[in-house]
Amino acid sequence: MELLDRYLQAIEFWLPKRQRQDIIAELSEDLRSQIEDKETELGRKLEDAEVEAVLKRCGSPLAVASRYRSQQYLIGPTLFPIYRFVLAVSLIGCVVPRFLIWIAFLLVDPAHRGYLHMENLWATVLYFAFFTTLIFAILERSGVKLQGLDTWSPRKLPPVRDPNRISRFGSLFEIAAAVVFNVWFVSIFWPGPAIDFYGVRITIAPVWQVFFWSFLFLAAANVAIAVVNLFRPYWTPRRASLRLLFDGIGAGLFCGLLKAHLLVGISASSIPAAKAIELTNLINTWIARMLPWAIVTMLVMLSFDVYRIIRLRCVHLPGSSIGPAVKDLSSPMVNGN
């Protein structure tokens, strides 16, 4: 019976402490009864191989012991989808922008990519994953009830999303913001040899004229699109392409502006001349260093524009699963306006 005792000892190790003796006594009784019945049937003692077969049929010690424990999990099935979503968003938010900016620095300004410390990225990812898991495990353990789990109602659920619909509030906000910003932009940055800005005289390179009029034209174009969006609140392929074109031009102009070393000089009664030169160079350098960040931001913005066009085009393909089906046939998108 040595094999049986070893088997029971192995099971005992994994059992809950309070029930150990009780469970082992009962299991031992069952297995001994099985062995004795076989011995009676065969009329002899069982050999080790036969006892081994009985025990193997019973299952591995860990598997047998696990059946006596209630099912345990770190994060339960209710919280798990939220945990997975939060983890994915935090990890993507942590890794992707950093990686894109690192690539942009490599391409545009390799000398200054060092301060992004890519080697720390994995440590950051681990911290994010660890703390997210820890917080959710504590929530699970403390039995926190999710708000709305019991009090939900179909009426409180968000309306069905139509990604091609443009929010009227968004269009109005865009128009208002553009008007306010452009009035301020024109009043302060009207092209000339110098700009007086709160007592500081800023001398700007002549190339600023090109940027100024281009930005003004773009702003007018974007306001025009926003006005059309306000009255026809569905994206159409044509309008989405125009938005991509204007955003592309704007992105190119903005990146060019950062590299143009526009600032020629600063003068103010309170700043000594040498200090003003130093400050001018410093500002130009830091503006140029923003280029990789700007490139990434612009690329993200343009990729949204491109995705919008792809989605709109796919809606018209038979059997396409991208984007929702056009439900409202009276919407301008169908007419291609």
Partner: protein, 112 residues
């Protein structure tokens, strides 16, 4: 070959799922009279319902913790054995589950 293995695994999973609920009912029904684990297993096996010890004993403990069974250690044939029987709540539950089983069985007979 792998698809056949996949089908076999799927069948095994579904079969286990199907059996799981039935086993509680079968065990409760056999404990109208007092039995200990090994004789209970033998009684079920004789009626065509094999159940291994790794499944039966945790199930007995669960049913006992739910108040459906009572148990007591007693010596029989010079060995200590744990005897189980239905509690009054267990008897009521067996009656209700038996009726539910009959309903499901007759519905499924009609469906299948």
């Amino acid at each position: 070959m792998s698809q056949s293995n996949g089908n076999h695994d799927l069948f095994e999973n579904l079969r286990l799922e199907l059996r799981r609920g039935c086993l509680s009912l079968a065990v409760l029904s056999q404990l109208r009279t007092e039995r200990y684990g090994y004789t209970l297993r033998k009684a079920l096996a004789e009626q065509g319902l094999e159940i291994d010890e790794g499944t039966l004993y945790p199930l007995l403990r669960r049913l006992e913790s739910q108040g459906l069974l009572t148990s007591a250690w007693r010596e029989e044939e010079k060995r200590n054995k744990r005897f189980y029987r239905l509690s009054p709540e267990g008897k009521l539950m067996l009656k209700q589950l038996g009726a539910e089983w009959q309903r499901i069985n007759s519905s499924l007979n009609g469906i299948l």
